[in-house]
Each structure stands twice: as structure tokens, then as C-alpha cells.
Subunit: 375 residues, 2 copies
């Protein structure tokens, strides 16, 4: 009964097929048509059609032939990750990070500009501009070469790339980050909360690659969360998911204070705790208790496969992870696997790159690929 | 490039097309092929093929012709909701409900057996048997006529239909409900937590029909929750989602006690509060504060479109809903729309019917339709 399919069916099928081929090619250095067909489950003829179209559009290139065997060597194809560039930016309290990546998400150049939590809006935006300019220059690019930009920031972000609410940074509520970054890089700019981007990065390049349901805890000067549900970033109806910190009884508001009270710098407290300093050990224990209370609320709500702890404090995994597991065991019906982020400081900016790549990939599948103008 | 598609592609397409046609026909009394094609977006030829196959398999029947207009009147088709029957069961502390429904989910017969929260396992299971037997008999059916059964129960349920943990009912942990119900009705038996089923029912037939993200609160002798995320029931990695009640600081463990302290029966407290009795008003206020604390944790985690309050206490919407909204406003960054369930006591058993229907619909799309044996 499916001998006859409509134009709409076919165009959807073509998009899915093109996406499948790109994903398979992204996963290897090069593949033959036979290998692409096997990995995608597409027929040989479909695979040829898709690869031909992707060659024409510049997403795929020939990659030399396979020698050996009987007869003519098979042609090999590769994803042209060099065809385009994306920008990722992480705007934090202490630093601005900007990276340029290729279409595989490989970071080609990065820049870092130090800032302070006290800086006002204009000063922080100027630092963003410096980081982006430095990064583009280092990569030998201009803003027009960027196909899409992803930007991570603390606070609640709306769908248009504006910061709706930020308690952590002064004068940050209301800033239109998408418009600001578009002035330098006119391609689409996607803005997202830092905890959400770090969660995305952990699923893409981090310790949660095989998890479909994930709670990411951003443990640092600010405590935040990002949720992956059924393999997708869960944003919420107004992009305000994971904001468990707003409930005082769950401890995230005061969590940080235990460390500050014990020492001016959290890093010092963790170092002292590592060396057995009693006051520091007690402060870390109180911090972990509060972190775990909010985390337990997230875990009990979602029953995720995995909890990943990232953010600045994930460097102190050795003194954090075991007490955190014990506290989660205390409250949760089923304690999920607890892992420390391996991405550390890079998680948010990598998540920003992933956000930009998702946008680029959506556009190739819509047939609105920007590639044509670059060939 | 999609001129050539594989067998796998086509079979998936055929399943999607059959599903689309069934959904469209379920939504009306009868439709012409032209109307089906328009509503599904399928081509005329695809529509004809799909409808022919569904006619052969007994899912669809002719429904007389449309008169009027020029030429031969167009044939009309309808979904054969009478082709099969499903069973829904709700096992509670105070009652067992069993219903038989057709493939549209219309309830044809129902039975109710009173039980007590104190009853042991065997007694409660015997009551389940009585309710199911009475319901089947009333509908003129035997167990073999049931295509699928859905069962709702308090407690955590595993994927095989066993109760993993129940605090509310004595001797209920460990009971294999799927195996028990299969003895009477040998078709597949799906067992699920009552809060989760009520959430499903609200999206299907209740006040949340247009919500994609929903927090359902089961407010009654026990406080529970069910989550709909992105249009689907969110079960969690080990089917333990929504169990926020396990965290003492979120108040659900003690919520119920405020009402019991004020009066032996919660219904009495709500009635007294309605009439202005000061002690009752204070007890309801304390109950709502605790209910809202746990609910706020769910809302802050997920940022849902809507909160629906159901369960036994939803009958007292007039004294519950405004204080609940005020408490949510106090804690939530964005308070979602708050609605009282219109399904009341029927929500869990309707969710059980929906669960059974989902199973039947999955099987038609797999080509493993049980219809053939019934024609």
C-alpha cells in the first residue's frame, strides 16, 4: 500500500536519509558507498542518490579509493567538516571563552578573556566582543565566515536569545545577547543557559554519551542544572526547567555559603579538605548535603539514568563524589550512576558549539544549506 | 534522490500511514477517502491502499454513502471501534474499579467492588477478580474476548507488571499483577502506577488535551504525581519518576496528617473548611502548603505547561485551587496554568484503558493485529 507516496512523504524521507548519511560519515574518516549503505540501512540506490546530492551541495567529498581486492577499488567519501565554521561562546562570572569549530565540532581556535563577577553589562559585553574578535582573528576568519553561533550564559534565557533573569551577574537581566553577537557574526545566534549547554556537551562529548536521561549538576560559584530527557535537551514551556535552586528548602541557595564561610575561595576549601583540615572537611560536607538535597529532588522527579557533576568544582571530584553518592543514597529511591564531568571548564562552550551545529544541520536538511555560497 | 526506497523504509511508512488513517477515522463518525486523504496529508492512491488493507484486516468498515452532489455518491468509511474490547482496572485502597471499553475507549460496562486500606494481598486480589468477573459478565464477554488489559495500582511498578514497592497497601510489595490478571484475561496485561495513569487520562480525555508538558498531582489519601513530557508519559529509567514524596523536606509525607489531625475523614475537613470552620480552614491551609512544596519541586524541575490536580480531593476544588495557586506563585519562577481534573475518580481507570489501547494500536502497526482471528 505504500507503492504511492506523496511529495511530502518523500521530502521528509530525503531529509532523514541525508541526516543519516551525514551522521554516519561524521563518525569515520571515510567510507565506501557499501559501508554507508550498511551503516544507514538505506538501499544502495538511495545511498548513491543521497551521496550525489550531498557532493553537489558540498557537504561530502571524495576521499581517495580503497586499494586491494578484486576489480576496481571502491570510491571513498568523507564528511567535509572543513566546509563551514561555527562559533561557541561561554559568558561566565570569571571568564569569557570563545571557540571556533569545524562542522565536526573540532575546536580550531579558542580565546579566553578574564572578567570579574562584579563587572557591569557594558564592560562584560565588551569582553565578549574581545574574546570573539581574538578568536576569529586567530582562526583567520571574519564574522561573515561563521555559519551559526551558540552562546551560553548564566540565568534564564528566552527563545529569542535575551536574558530574562540573572541573579548571578549585575545588570545582566534584559540583555539581548543574540542581537549583540549578531553584530559581529550575522548568521543565526542561539543563546542558552549554561547548565543546559553543559548537559548537552556531556551527552555529545562527555561521560554521558550513552545516556538518554541525564541530570547535569553545575557545581561552582553558582549551582544549576541541565536535563536531558529521552535524548533531548529539556527546556521547559518557558525555558525555565532545572531551576530547583529557587526553592529555599532544597538548599542550593545556601550551599555555596558553607564554602565561603570556611574560606574566601572554594578551591582553597577543597584543597584543605583534601589534606584533612577538620573545618574544611565539615564545610565540604555541609556543601555536599545541600547540593544533594536539590539534586535528589531532580532525581526523584525524573528517575534519570545518570547524574553528571560538572562546573568549576568538578575539579575536586576526589573530595566531592563519594559524599555526594552517600547523600543521594539517603534520599533517592534509586540512586542513578553518578559521574564527574570529564569536560570541566570546557563543557559550556562545547555545548554552545553543539547548539550551533544543530542549527546548521537543521538547515541542510531543510534544503536551505548555506554551503552553496561557499563553493 | 528518494526515487528508490528500501523495504524497511516502506514498512515504516506503511505503519505510519495506517496509524494516521486510524487516528483520523477515530476522530469522526465516518469519512470519505477524499476527507481521509485531506486530513492525513497522504496522496489519494496511498489513502486507498491503506484503507483497503485496514478493511481487509477488520479495523475499518464501510459506513454508507454520501448523497447529494453530482454523480455517484462517495463511499464513507468508519473506524470499527466495536471490533475489539479492552479492560481497564484501578486497584485502590478503598475500591477496585474495572471497566470494559471499545477500541475508541468508550466505556461499555463497569463494576466497582469496595475494599479497605487494611485488606491483605489475597483478599484484595480476590476483590480484583470479582470486579473483573462482574464487569466481563455485565458486558457479555469472557476473558478471551479482551485484547489487552491496563491495570493501575499505587506504588512503584516494574516493566513486567510487578509491584516493586508499596507503602500504602499492606502485603502489596512484590505482587505480580500482570500474571494475576492474565489468568482471567490471557491477552497482554500492562501495569502502571496510578498517578502515571491519571496523567495519561488527563491528556487523553481530561483537561490537558492540548498540553504537551504536564505535571499531574494525585491528591488523596496518598499524594503522588505523573509526568507527561513532550506528549509522552515519562516513566524514568526504572519507572520511578515523580516520586518526590520520598524527600521529607518537600512535605508530601506529612501533608495528609494535617487533615487527619483535624478530623478522621478528609472529606469532613474540606466540608467544614467550606463552611468557615477555623480549625478546618487552618488544616486545609497546612495541607495545601505541603502539597505545594512538593509540587513546586516538580514544576521548578520541569517547567511544565500545566499542573492538573486530581485524585479524591479534587472534588474539593473550591477550597483547594486558589490557595494552591498562591503557594505555587510563592515558590515557582513561572507558575503554570493550574486546573482541577474533570475526570475525578475515573482518571486512573481511564488511563488504564488508554494503556491497553496503546498496546492494541502498537500491534496493528506491527502487522500483528489480533483482528484476523476475530473476523
Amino acid at each position: 500500500m505504500a507503492g504511492d507516496v506523496t511529495g511530502g512523504d518523500l521530502s521528509r524521507l530525503r531529509q532523514l536519509n541525508a541526516q543519516a548519511v551525514i551522521r554516519v560519515l561524521q563518525g569515520s574518516s571515510s567510507l565506501t558507498l557499501t559501508e554507508v549503505a550498511r551503516s544507514t540501512g538505506l538501499s544502495r540506490a538511495s545511498t548513491e542518490d543521497v551521496v550525489r546530492e550531498l557532493l553537489q551541495k558540498g557537504w561530502v567529498a571524495e576521499a581517495g579509493a580503497t586499494a586491494g581486492g578484486v576489480g576496481r577499488p571502491a570510491r571513498r567519501y568523507r564528511f567535509r567538516s572543513e566546509a563551514g565554521r561555527v562559533l561557541g561562546v561561554d559568558i561566565g562570572g570569571h571568564k569569557i571563552r570563545a571557540v571556533v569549530a569545524d562542522l565536526d565540532g573540532e575546536v580550531l581556535h579558542s580565546a579566553r578573556v578574564a572578567v570579574t563577577p562584579e563587572m557591569g553589562r557594558l564592560e562584560r559585553l565588551a569582553a565578549v566582543d574581545r574574546a570573539v574578535a581574538e578568536c576569529l582573528e586567530g582562526a583567520g576568519l571574519t564574522g561573515g565566515d561563521v555559519w551559526a553561533s551558540g552562546v551560553g550564559t548564566t540565568g534564564l534565557v528566552d527563545g529569542a536569545g535575551r536574558v530574562l533573569l540573572s541573579d548571578a551577574l549585575p545588570e545582566w537581566t534584559g540583555v539581548d545577547l543574540a542581537a549583540h553577537v549578531r553584530r559581529m557574526c550575522p548568521a543565526p545566534v542561539l543563546v542558552e543557559n549554561d547548565g543546559k549547554l553543559a548537559a548537552l556537551a556531556e551527552c555529545w562529548r562527555g561521560v554521558a554519551r550513552y545516556a538518554k536521561d541525564l541530570v547535569f549538576l553545575l557545581a561552582g560559584l553558582r549551582t544549576g542544572a541541565g536535563l536531558i530527557i529521552d535524548g533531548k535537551l529539556h527546556r521547559g514551556f518557558a525555558n525555565a526547567s532545572g531551576e530547583i535552586g529557587a526553592l529555599p528548602v532544597l538548599g542550593w541557595i545556601r550551599a555555596q555559603e558553607h564554602l565561603v564561610a570556611a574560606s574566601g575561595e572554594a578551591g582553597d576549601v577543597f584543597a584543605a579538605a583534601r589534606e584533612g583540615d577538620k573545618a574544611a572537611v565539615a564545610a565540604v560536607r555541609r556543601y555536599v548535603k545541600d547540593l544533594a538535597l536539590g539534586a535528589s529532588a531532580l532525581v526523584l522527579t525524573l528517575d534519570p539514568q545518570m547524574v553528571v557533576v560538572g562546573g568549576g568544582y568538578s575539579r575536586s571530584a576526589d573530595v566531592l563524589i563519594e559524599p555526594l553518592k552517600r547523600e543521594l543514597d539517603r534520599w533517592c529511591i534509586r540512586t542513578p550512576e553518578v559521574r564527574m564531568s570529564a569536560l570541566g571548564d570546557e563543557a559550556v562552550v562545547l555545548g554552545a558549539v553543539r547548539l550551533a551545529l544543530d542549527d546548521v544541520e537543521d538547515r541542510v536538511l531543510d534544503g536551505r544549506s548555506p554551503l552553496v555560497s561557499h563553493l
